[in-house]
């Protein structure tokens, strides 16, 4: 296994809405090694996107990192000035977003939007930048790249725009690519193309990928390690094989049972009762306890810690901690 590339520890990100302070990300820690593909999974509101925006320090107004550290290549990103951070963004850590239709500036040509990123991070002439742009576009599988650079985003389909977004992210050869639901807005056959491309870039360039998604199928196909989040906290972290073979946390178990599997012909799907609580009405104790079929008395009182399991994974659940104690 390579060096730790990204080390997030005890990250706490809070959103302020009037007098309310909501902890969207609460004490989240994980690492990503060089060349690794890590999945960050969870349902809406679990804090997975906020985690990624915290790493990039791109939180919208009202959001603030209150606690923790984010080390990238040994450097604490939270201690950098805004100017130093700009040198990291798009250069060493790049990001691809969910909505390819709205993530490109409609009034600038494709070429200009990619050139810009190169010119800001490297001492190159416009001509050299353009050359690299075309080369990168070809690498992400865009046909007639020489013409595409002179076109506007509205002239391209959703799948092509997502390829452009990936090209824009890859053009400075970042060490880490954060992909926030990169295929959610795309059709299935186009999703297969984009996932294929990301896998290839990961292999060819050794770029580490933090893949944020709600789709367990995508995780199974793409990732080596998986982090499951619920209500702002990491509930389970393990390698992809054991996650699907032996999920430990009741939430992970419920999530897997809820997902219909092709060709399995089950009569009924499993399900998790109730709804995801909103951040301003979080239950006391374990945040999953009110929906958990295995909840015990202690779960409603205390928050369990994220502890190591025998198979090397991490799980935030009293079920296993009780066993150990015994």
């Amino acid at each position: 296994m390579g060096q730790p590339l990204l080390e997030v520890s005890h990250l706490q990100t809070t959103f302020f809405d009037g007098k309310q302070a909501l902890n969207a990300v609460d004490d989240v820690s994980f690492t990503i090694h060089e060349g690794e593909t890590v999945g960050l999974v969870g349902e809406s509101g679990c804090g997975k996107s906020v985690t990624s925006l915290s790493i990039m320090r791109l939180l919208s107004s009202g959001g603030k990192i209150m606690n923790g550290s984010i080390h990238f290549n040994g450097q604490n990103l939270l201690a950098l000035s805004e100017k130093e951070m700009r040198n990291i963004r798009g250069n060493e850590i790049a990001m691809v977003f969910q909505e390819p239709m709205t993530s490109l500036n409609p009034v600038y040509k494709i070429g200009k939007q990619i050139d810009e990123a190169i010119i800001y991070h490297n001492k190159v002439t416009k001509k050299e930048a353009r050359q690299r742009t075309i080369e990168t576009l070809k690498n992400v599988g865009i046909p007639r790249a020489e013409e595409i650079v002179r076109e506007y985003p509205f002239q391209l389909s959703g799948g092509m725009r997502q390829r452009v977004m990936i090209a824009m992210a890859m053009v400075c050869k970042p060490k880490l690519l954060i992909a926030d639901e990169p295929t959610t807005a795309l059709d299935v056959t186009i999703q297969a193309q984009i996932l294929d491309l990301m896998r290839e870039l990961n292999k060819k360039n050794g770029t580490a990928i933090l893949l944020i998604t709600h789709d367990l199928g995508v995780v199974a196909e793409m990732c080596e390690r998986v982090i499951v989040m619920y209500c702002g906290k990491v509930v389970e972290e393990t390698d992809v094989q054991s996650l699907f073979a032996h999920p430990h946390h009741p939430y992970t178990q419920g999530l897997l049972a809820s997902t219909p599997k092709l060709g399995e012909h089950a009569e009924r799907l499993g399900s998790i009762k109730g709804n995801v609580p909103s951040l301003n009405h979080l239950p006391k104790g374990c945040r999953f306890a009110p929906r958990c079929p295995k909840a015990m008395a202690i779960c409603r009182e205390q928050v369990p810690a994220l502890e190591a399991l025998d198979d090397g994974g991490l799980c935030r659940c009293f079920l296993y901690q009780a066993k150990k104690a015994r």
Partner: protein, 306 residues
């Protein structure tokens, strides 16, 4: 783009016809006999009859309209009832002062409005924003005639820096342009602010940050170029306000322009001049909006490439 432009121009034809019908009917809508109006209150019945025949007012209305259109297309706008001069001469004389007044007002409005709007949007909820928006809402609420009078009092009467009215030198333009442009500057400032703030929420702005671009480049490049698209359209709409406002401001500053001619003509009941002026003002407004539409097309690549 060509297709877009042609469509815009063709789209104007029904509106032009509609306007010409409205304006033509104008004289007929005035209570009383148009021939009597032209001939004057003390003309004899016979004189009125003569006038009616001379002007073709005894013919059916559709035929009168065709005659009116024929004259119009030959540049014949009729004879002023008061001065007995061709209306076109009266208007030609007054055209340029009004044109330049509108031009300088718009220039001042754009400069002030854009600056305040951009600063307010980028310094959202800071003192710059609050003071900018306070200025703007005040500018929107000021009666232009009052602003003009107060400006005359202060700069011309008390300080003696600028002329009180009339058109003698370039300094004569300063106060009227300021007065006329202030209301529009306020509208532009408010609109620019909200358009820019909307754009700053867009996903592609976040993309720009994720690329590592500095904020200044994102605001002045990526964001402003997008925000200008609705601002340009809105500025075109405001031009109507400018033309209407010029009537008031020209009256305040005794300006030798079209606006004051309109007011004078109303007090003399000089209907042919009023009719021609209303036509002229709306044509001008349409023309400006056509130009604005074309600029809009240029700013928006989706239309340019259509």
């Amino acid at each position: 783009m060509l297709r877009y432009t042609i469509r815009r121009v063709l789209g104007l034809i029904p509106i032009l016809i509609g306007i010409s019908i409205f304006v033509f009917l104008f004289v007929h809508l005035i209570p009383g006999d148009p021939a009597r109006l032209v001939a004057g209150q003390d003309a004899t019945v016979k004189d009125v009859q003569l006038v009616r025949e001379r002007l073709g007012l005894d013919k059916p209305i559709p035929l009168q309209y065709l005659t009116y259109m024929d004259n119009l297309l030959h540049g014949n706008l009729g004879i002023s009832l008061k001065t007995q001069q061709p209306v076109i001469h009266l208007i030609a004389e007054r055209f340029m002062p009004t044109f330049w007044l509108s031009f300088f007002s718009l220039a001042w409005a754009l400069a002030a409005g854009l600056l305040i709007g951009v600063v307010s949007a980028t310094k959202r909820n800071k003192w710059q924003d609050y003071s900018g928006m306070f200025l703007a809402v005040s500018g929107l609420s000021l009666p232009s005639f009052w602003l003009g009078l107060m400006a005359i009092q202060l700069f011309a009467v008390d300080l003696g820096l600028l002329p009180t009215g009339g058109l003698d030198s370039w300094t004569s333009y300063i106060l009227p342009s300021f007065t006329l442009g202030t209301g529009i500057a306020a509208v532009i400032a408010r609109f620019t602010r909200s358009a820019l703030m909307d754009v700053l929420k867009e996903d592609y702005i976040r993309t720009g940050h994720a690329k590592g671009l500095p904020r200044s480049r994102i605001v002045w490049g990526h964001a402003l170029k997008n925000a200008m698209i609705p601002v340009v359209t809105m500025t075109g709409m405001q031009f109507g306000f400018l033309l209407g406002g010029s009537v008031v401001v020209e009256t305040v500053f005794s300006w030798p322009g079209l606006g004051r001619l309109l007011i004078d003509s109303i007090s003399y009941r000089d209907y042919t001049v009023i009719q021609a002026e209303i036509l002229l003002f709306s044509l001008e407004f349409l023309l400006i909006n056509l130009i604005v539409d074309i600029i809009y097309g240029f700013l928006n690549p989706q239309i340019r490439y259509d």
